[in-house]
Symmetry: C2
Subunit: 551 residues, 2 copies
């Protein structure tokens, strides 16, 4: 038997586009002589469809999509993910299902049993868990259909579920396991995935075909990395990351773990953290623009590391001709800032304009003078500068249709070191899930072949340049320390006592955790942030604004 | 037996404050000779605690709170809601529990079985559903402990759950049902609540004590309205809305449905929609400021209806001395706008300042002129005005510590008729869950005793005044139609076909639904909106930004 996996980039709610892509892949799989082609989870409607699932009209369109695909399932079996209505009145209205299509119609439907409801996932909001487990027979093979999380309750130290779907299916003696996934990228997810698949193969001794999405849906990035595992527990093949790809396998070869063709491109992919993040962010940028039907970006280039890294990412993702930047010096800007920013723009060949903000700033000062009488320069005046820049960028964005990219990093977003409606403005936060030290690492990675980002941008001490001789270190702990405390609190969910036990200063920890918690109101109003870690700000981290915990 | 219900306003994560409040209520209940006092769901930590629940430290503090309260449970039994650890490794780590405390210690713990995971609720994200059901015996009475949603699977047309906790408990022959709730306000929730309680009493024939939270946690408002129901299906008492209150009942009186004291203040509360919304918004405003330790608000007063209504709400919630407004006319402002706004400020006795924005606008025009060469006045220039106003308001906010209130309404937020970082700025959206026609109704309600809002503000055609002779009706359908289409799409989740079937124009429906869907990126960056309907924008409505459905 030949099995094809189709690792595709779907678009939420774009039924026409998704079906066309699926039909094309079926054609290709047939041309390759395949018996069975497998697509991703909820591939008809895209993932995550979120509350669109509450619209009957949306479910009808998903059902129509399955019908159209079923008609093409002739001479080949097709497995697609799509929502299904729950015929029982009690319980949630839908199932998250895998459809087995053959001979031009639906042969059977298997439902997802384990519904991730943590971090960015809200599946129990919509779906009823499967209560029945049945394998499918096709061309003499007994096939176990599973959906994403269904295979993740094996090999975990703290399993979130009380059942294990493959345990339920084993009495029916399946020959092969298919898994339809929509499993988002984080920089260590590919390794986790292989770990979990290996644990499954070890437990059940069956070959597995794991099919993931590629491409991004707003902040959620899918890396692909679809897997074929042999019963001996070895990775038979791992598809390249961040690409659409269709590949056909001979099940006999997968069973033995050996490809007959010595030149077959099978094998594992490299998993270097910063390289993965780099490619993930390009995917996130490309799909945000592509799927919204947009082309052009704009951002403010301050001469600092954050905007430099975002500019290079934008140029690489969208093309130099689609990126423009504004350099907006004030009386507090240093000469090197302008020079460094200009040099970077020239290095990557993007349009740059210099707009001085002093006159506008002075006009605000004159207008506000009677109201500010008796007060002195403080964070208010710093914020006015940041907001004038935000306003100018949005004006250019409105006039010319360039979407503003936000350049805040995760360390800043965490402690609220940014101005709402100023440097926190933008349609998409590109590096909002990268701690400052990771931004530096990414800059070095970008420079690995040649100096794209001027050295001085990387080496000078970070500054917002909103008052004379300002440095980030005036108001924040050193980023080496700050980032580690933040990582423990945000990614590892450690409390103050645990973090202090790791050797961090008690006052520092209390201050940092307090800053994180009192800045929730700012993050609430921030653009979606491309997610690359296991715990990004945004939909995956849901915190009260009005609270009094560590604040 | 005497039973006390304590309807209190908790504060998320403020364990000290919550425990102090609970201890004080226990004291009062004892003074009233009560045998048993019942508090709300998760009252130790506040509701909704959201991802704070993922911190071990937060759970430890909840456990400590229960221990402190247990010590005070002497001579009286106390029932409190608090999270409990799940001792089994499989499944979610926590239960959402009701603790029965007596003789200075925990006597038993009952877990919530039905975990709301829809709209603003995420309970399955954190909690394992109860698998066991046991009643508690105390002073000869057999008591069924239930938590909020546990009693909501009775009398629904489309039940979301497959079990019914009281069905499980009935074989143990309880005498009385206690329900610990944290059930958020919406303008028809009080009526729904009574409907559901009646359905329970009808089915089980038992008296019920339903205890709700009062007060707001950011956008989520709790109205109280705690209920005592007699076995004859009548409301024995409903506590007043939006108040903290402790009241003690004689169970024998509740059983018969008749109070011995003819002067007892028992009875149902009035449920007029706009009056409820008015009081809910005052609660939301008061607690947003109070729980964040803030006092003073600022907003822009345009002369239009939205900002007028928000100014009056702020003045009523926070006091005239804590509210100031800016009038920020441009060359496009009409005389009546300034006059109407000034009149309103004088009517409600709040500080107002007039800041002309023409000079700043001109300075932006000069600065942008070389970059805008060859373009003509369009929405860009309109947005610049809105953003200058936003910047000035934020400058005053930063300088003097007045929190900026957002004045956008739900109709505008729905169709994206607002400027990000301009009139969409602010820490809290006060009327973001009111359609324009509801804003008018609220204005009339405010004027019922005397003319607070100048008549002209209510009667003139709405306009953003960002270009000469602009009217909302230039770019939007009449609000009477728009609001109805939006209501069907947002609150009723009707699709285009269903809405057209109701008699609305096909093109109008397509246009409105498209506007809603393509404006998701704007709403993503909007302040939290005080929730008064069954489907508010924000955490209760989760939509993809990059999608292609009806867009």
């Amino acid at each position: 038997m030949k099995i094809t996996i189709a690792q595709l980039n779907y678009h939420i709610g774009n039924f026409e586009g998704n079906v066309a892509k699926i039909l094309e892949a079926i054609k290709q799989a047939k041309a390759e002589g395949s018996d069975l082609v497998v697509f991703g989870e909820l591939c008809t409607c895209g993932y995550p469809p979120r509350d669109f699932l509450e619209f009957d009209d949306f479910i009808k369109l998903s059902e129509k999509a399955v019908k159209r695909i079923a008609k093409a399932a002739k001479g080949i079996a097709v497995v697609v993910g799509s929502p299904t209505r729950n015929p029982v009145i009690e319980g949630k209205d839908l199932y998250n299902s895998a459809y087995f299509l053959a001979d031009g119609k639906v042969q059977s439907v298997a439902h997802k049993a384990l519904l991730p409801t943590y971090d960015i996932f809200d599946e129990y909001r919509y779906f009823e868990p499967a209560g029945e487990f049945n394998i499918v027979e096709y061309k003499g093979k007994r096939i176990a259909l599973t959906v994403c999380e269904d295979i993740w309750n094996v090999g975990n130290e703290n399993p979130m579920y009380t059942i294990c779907p493959l345990d339920e299916l084993m009495p029916q003696k399946p020959d092969v396991v298919l898994n339809l996934s929509a499993s988002p990228f984080s920089y260590d997810h590919a390794a986790d995935r292989i770990h979990v698949l290996k644990a499954n193969v070890k437990r059940y001794g069956l070959p597995m075909f794991y099919v993931n999405h590629s491409g991004a849906q707003t902040e959620v990035i899918f890396d692909g990395g679809s897997l074929v595992m042999s019963p001996n527990g070895k990775v038979f093949d791992e598809l390249p990351y961040f690409q659409e790809l269709i590949r056909t396998y001979d099940l006999d070869e997968v069973m033995t773990g050996k490809a007959k063709d010595k030149n077959a491109p099978y094998g594992e992919q490299p998993k270097e953290k910063i390289a993965l993040i780099h490619d993930a962010l390009l995917t996130g940028l490309r799909d945000y623009f592509g799927k919204l039907g947009l082309k052009k970006a704009i951002l403010g280039l301050s001469g600092g590391i954050d905007s430099a890294v975002v500019a290079v990412l934008a140029q690489r993702a969208l093309g130099a001709e689609n990126v423009r930047v504004l350099l907006m010096p004030s009386q507090f800007s240093s000469d090197h800032s302008i020079n460094d920013a200009r040099q970077l723009a020239q290095n990557i060949n993007i349009q740059y304009d210099i707009i001085h903000i002093e006159d506008i700033y002075d006009e605000f000062a004159v207008t506000l003078k009677p109201h500010f009488a008796g007060t002195s320069f403080n964070v208010t005046e710093e914020n006015i500068q940041a907001r004038i820049r935000g306003l100018l960028l949005m004006a250019m964005s409105n006039k010319f249709g360039n979407i503003l990219l936000n350049t805040s990093n995760k360390s800043e977003a965490a402690v609220g070191y940014g101005t709402l409606y100023g440097d926190m403005a933008g349609g998409l936060s590109v590096i909002g899930d990268l701690y400052k030290m990771e931004v530096y690492a990414l800059a070095e990675y970008m420079n690995k072949d040649s100096e794209v980002i001027p050295r001085n941008i990387i080496t000078k001490p970070p500054s917002a340049e909103l008052r004379p001789d300002q440095k980030d270190s005036d108001s924040l702990p050193p980023y080496e320390q700050l980032d580690e405390v933040l990582f423990q609190y945000i990614e590892k969910q450690q409390g103050p006592k645990e973090i202090i036990k790791m050797g961090f200063d008690k006052k520092l920890v209390a201050r940092v955790l307090r800053l994180v918690n009192i800045s929730e109101f700012k993050r609430y109003q921030t653009a979606p942030m491309l997610r690359v870690s296991n715990k990004a700000f945004g939909m995956g981290r849901r915190m009260p604004i009005v609270g009094k915990y560590l604040s």
